[in-house]
Amino acid sequence: MAELMQDNWIFLAVALVIGVLVAWWLFAARRTRVSIAPRDEDTPAKRNQALIDAPPAAKAAVPPPTPQGLAGVGEAVAASAAMTSAGDDLTRIKGLGPKLVDQLAALGVTTYSQIAAWNDAEIDRIDAQLGRFQGRIRRDDWPTQAKLLAAGDEAGYEAKFGRL
């Protein structure tokens, strides 16, 4: 066996290098590849001339906005803005970093109380949308952490999860 390896070490080295290259392609290249379409600033934007030359389509009958139709919109926007500005610092939850905060914000989760209120079904729903961070919610027990943080119980938190 040793003699065979000595005689054919070059083949073994090539196989090893191929293995490393395949692993690199699997684990590094495919994950971090960013595909940004090259944008040529010098060429003018292509316009759809046929669309430009076409006769205007019949105007859709859009009813003018009425006060009744817009009733409540202002309040909803204000409430939404208030929620955004009142969002908690979710990065205090262990296992939850800036990227996850962004992902959760996109899902409408910005406060401890929202996470604390998650049930199993909601955890599954959110978890399924966390991509490569799947499993973090249960692994790091975000709901319990969030409950303690929402209650301001830092002593209880540190007793269970370590220093904040």
């Binding site: 054919n8 191929i18 293995g19 490393v20 290259l21 395949v22 684990f27």
Partner: protein, 36 residues
């Protein structure tokens, strides 16, 4: 065991070792990446 088969097995082992090295270098760090 014929010599060519032995060599083939050794090459497969070397390939697997290469995969393991690559995983340790790039795959493991992605799995155990810190807080997202």
């Amino acid at each position: 065991m014929p010599i060519w088969l032995e060599l083939m097995v050794l090459m497969l082992v070397a390939y697997a070792v290469g995969l393991a090295i690559g995983w340790a270098l790039w795959g493991r760090s992605a799995e155990t990446e810190g807080n997202g």
